[in-house]
């Protein structure tokens, strides 16, 4: 999971969902489920995962934690399998004509898992905690556009924005935390973070560190009450062992990494789903360095890679060359754009145009007496990244560019990319823009110093389009803006857009109603059920 975790709430949610699965086109009703069968209650879903950190939606940044908080907590809105925002704690909402005021009408009769009523005070409390500088959270940036808020009555909540902000709903999909349990408590170290209380589909039962987290069905859930009795997250750190557990039935559900795909697809008791995800992989070039601060060079470095061949080998064919940051299933993607095709000759020509030629005949292109070489960072312990980087080494060698790989653990990698250090030349990572296509934090020039524009990409046209996309409230007009933005990003290659990758998950065949969507396999887990005869775990 080479995602830059912990950005927008929804991104974390989406990424979490991606690791545990994503969606294929919605199955026609009745295709696999005979319509006559009614779901029955019972059984436990055992999920294999790496260890979660802390189960508080405003603090959690890692994939396992956000996957769990997404089940235990609810936001004002949620996302459905068609990537639309739909009611959750908020029954409905409206926007003022000037786009500045959002009013949420909250559902009546919702209770926390401890039985206390949920009100607009909880929503206000959640925003206050996020805004509080004492709270150690990466979410603050998501609410930069928010001016203030107001509790109109226990079931009406109003938010005032500084300027019209089209992506606003995304930030309100974040889980709401209970005021009555966290008021006056240091939220950073609260025991609450290890035994959370939410309003979500499942309630927390127990967390045995490095063993498992167990959730039980929330009988009082305000929408569809889950059919399954419980969900167990079993913590298994080694990927090879995790795959064996999935194949052996020790767990019922897990994401599958590309090297294991073909074998797992042949396991009789598993349904292996593959589907386009929201994720794209890219190579970031540090444009603070003169050699990468040249559109021609970056385009050449994109053209020099045969991405079709790399995808076939490293992702087992479960990836296609990317054209930009917007996922294939997003309305923002401009369908007219074709991915850059493999063209080493043009790559060499562009490098030569930029002054990079092999003048001393040593096989490496050079400029001002210095060969073109760079250190390329990848994530240690990820076999797919390693294959890709080894192949990239060969492709770049063919155009005279020398790539020196360095694989680092996540903490080290991030510390190199982050401000104020920015100590890198190039890196290979994956990311997901989220349900809303706002890419302000990645490619806007103001985000180069402290934000996530790690590569220091600066382009006035891109800046203008990003700002316009944020301001434009009319959907059709907004879509046009993003199609233009996509074209501009493609032409300037702020990063080398590598792949759109498919998510792969394996689910035990006894589970019915599994319809993965681009936002995750668990998005509708409350509808999953197991026929009585096949139930494996009796109720405790």
């Amino acid at each position: 999971m080479s995602d830059k975790t912990g950005r927008l709430l929804l991104i974390a949610m989406v990424v979490a969902a991606l690791i545990l699965g994503g969606g294929c086109p919605r199955r026609a009703p009745g295709e696999e489920q005979p319509a006559a069968v009614t779901p029955v209650q019972g059984d436990t879903l055992v999920i294999g995962t790496v260890a979660p950190m802390l189960l508080n939606p405003i603090l959690a940044t890692d994939v396992p934690s956000t996957t769990i908080t997404d089940l235990v907590f609810s936001g004002l809105v949620t996302v459905n399998d068609r990537l639309e925002f739909v009611p959750e704690l908020a029954e409905s909402w409206e926007v003022s004509p000037d786009g500045l005021v959002w009013t949420f009408h909250l559902r009546d009769g919702v209770t926390w898992h401890d039985g206390k009523p949920f009100t607009a005070e909880d929503v206000a409390f959640t925003l206050e905690r996020i805004r509080d500088p004492h709270t150690i959270t990466v979410r603050r940036g998501d609410y930069e556009q928010v001016d203030r808020w107001e509790v109109v009555d226990p079931h009406t909540f109003r938010v005032y924005f500084k300027e019209p902000f089209a992506p606003a709903l995304q930030a309100f999909a974040m889980g709401i935390i209970p005021k009555h349990l966290l008021q006056g408590v240091d939220i950073n170290t609260a025991p609450f973070n290890t035994r959370p209380v939410g309003t979500g589909r499942f309630r927390f039962r127990e967390w045995k560190p490095d063993v498992h987290v167990i959730l039980d069905r929330n009988e009082d859930y305000f929408k569809q009450v889950p059919h399954l009795n419980s969900i167990v997250f079993r913590i298994i750190p080694d990927d090879t062992v995790l795959m064996e557990e999935l194949a052996g039935g020790g767990i019922d559900f897990s994401g599958i990494t590309a090297p294991h795909y073909k074998r797992m697809a042949a396991v009789p008791h598993l349904n292996v789903h593959r589907f386009p995800s929201l994720r794209f992989q890219y190579i970031g070039w540090n444009e603070r360095l003169p050699k990468f601060d040249d559109d021609r060079v970056r385009i050449a470095l994109s053209l020099a890679l045969d991405r079709e061949a790399i995808a076939e080998a490293a992702y087992e064919g479960l990836a296609v060359p990317a054209t930009g940051p917007f996922p294939l299933v997003s309305w923002a993607i401009n369908p007219a754009i074709e991915p850059l095709a493999y063209d080493p000759e043009r790559a060499k020509q562009l490098l030569a145009d930029a002054g990079w030629k092999d003048t001393n005949g040593d096989g490496w292109v050079d400029r001002d007496g210095k060969p073109f070489e760079f250190e390329f960072l990848g994530r240690a312990g990820d076999p797919v990244s390693k294959m890709i980087i080894e192949l990239a080494m060969e492709y770049y060698k063919a155009v005279g560019v020398k790539l020196n790989p360095l694989f680092l653990e996540w903490g080290d990698l991030v510390s190199r990319l982050d401000p104020p250090r920015r100590a890198f030349e190039a890196f290979y990572l994956g990311f997901s823009v989220g349900v809303d296509p706002d890419v302000h934090i990645f490619y806007h020039s103001t985000q180069a110093e402290w934000g996530f524009n790690d590569t220091n990409f600066q382009d006035a046209e891109v800046d203008r389009l990003i700002e316009e996309g944020r301001r434009t409230m009319d959907f059709a007009a907004r879509k046009q803006v993003y199609h233009q933005l996509h074209q501009r990003l493609h032409d300037t290659q702020p990063v080398t857009f590598m792949f759109f990758i498919e998510a792969i998950v394996g689910v035990d065949k006894r589970f019915q109603g599994v319809t993965p969507s681009p936002i995750g396999t668990l998005w509708n887990v409350e509808h999953w059920w197991v026929p009585e005869a096949q139930q494996k775990h009796p109720a405790p």
Binding site: D239, T240, R263, M387, L391, E394, P405
Partner: protein
């Protein structure tokens, strides 16, 4: 019975010695022996089972496993030998100083040894490698720089024993300086245990590097060690068993050979075992 004859009679040790010799020859001549370029991918032929063209099969990028294992021998043995050389050098210097001068210097050095031994080795390796960033030089420095304590103890004990021997006393009486006494008279006589420690230290380093590779901290491409080859192959174990198994066998055989050799040398060189 001479040491050499005793060694020769030990079949296990001789077999180990021959195997070690073979591995060293492979490592030195690897570039001449590899049938294919070990880093050149050949995607249409990825994950090909062992056969006539690729005796050990091909890896996930279609590279010839035999060539990669031969090339891996170079890196694994280089790391093993250089790391041990470094540790033996440090160990001999500290051990001799401690044993010869005794008193405060001895206490200081030996407490330092205790200090370093107080850290679980693998833990210390991963902490340092993770902090400095892995490459072959760093691996050698860290494993060698933290592996000398045993040698220092052995050398110290030998020096303590030899220091009061008559011939050393005689050399001192004849006006030899400390340095000359240590290097000419004492250390040559303490050589046997050092040779044994060296031989038995190399397999430890090779296993250490493979453990680091398993945890993702091994050598970086374009270089490859046996440890990194095994680790790269683990995700493919069920689809292409030859990926992890052949380099795993290489580690096993090489470590076994060094252990047999070292054990045989110990039996042959240990004066206490002379009948």
């Amino acid at each position: 019975m001479s040491n050499w004859r005793r060694f020769r009679r030990n079949q296990r040790a001789v077999a180990g010695g021959l195997l070690v010799l073979m591995f060293v020859v492979i490592a030195v001549l690897a570039p001449l022996l590899t049938p294919y370029d070990p880093v050149r991918s050949n995607l249409p032929r990825r994950l090909e089972a062992p056969g006539r063209e690729h005796v050990f099969g091909t890896d996930s990028l279609g590279r010839d496993m035999l060539s990669r294992i031969l090339e891996g021998a170079r890196i694994s043995l280089t790391i093993g030998i250089l790391a041990v050389a470094l540790s033996v050098f440090i160990g001999v210097v500290f051990g001799a100083l401690a044993g010869y001068y005794g008193k405060l210097l001895d206490s200081a050095i030996m407490r330092f040894v205790d200090l370093l031994l107080a850290f679980p080795t693998l833990y210390l390796y991963i902490t340092l490698v993770a902090l400095v960033g892995p490459n072959i030089g760093v691996l050698i420095l860290i494993m060698g720089g933290l592996g000398w304590m045993g040698v220092a103890r052995i050398v110290r004990a030998e020096v303590l024993k030899l220091r009061t021997q008559d011939y050393v006393e005689a050399a001192r009486a004849l006006g030899s300086g400390d340095r000359r006494i240590i290097f000419r008279h004492i250390l040559p006589n303490a050589l046997a245990p050092v040779i044994v420690a060296t031989t038995l230290g190399i397999p430890g380093m090779i296993l250490g590097e493979s453990a680091l590779s398993f945890l993702g901290l091994g050598v970086m491409p374009p270089y490859m060690s046996w440890g990194s080859l095994v680790n790269d192959g683990l995700p493919f174990f069920r689809r292409a068993w030859w990926l992890p198994v052949f380099p795993g066998m290489a580690i096993f055989l090489c470590v076994l050979a060094f252990n047999f050799l070292g054990d045989g040398l110990r039996d042959a060189l240990d004066p206490r075992l002379k009948s």
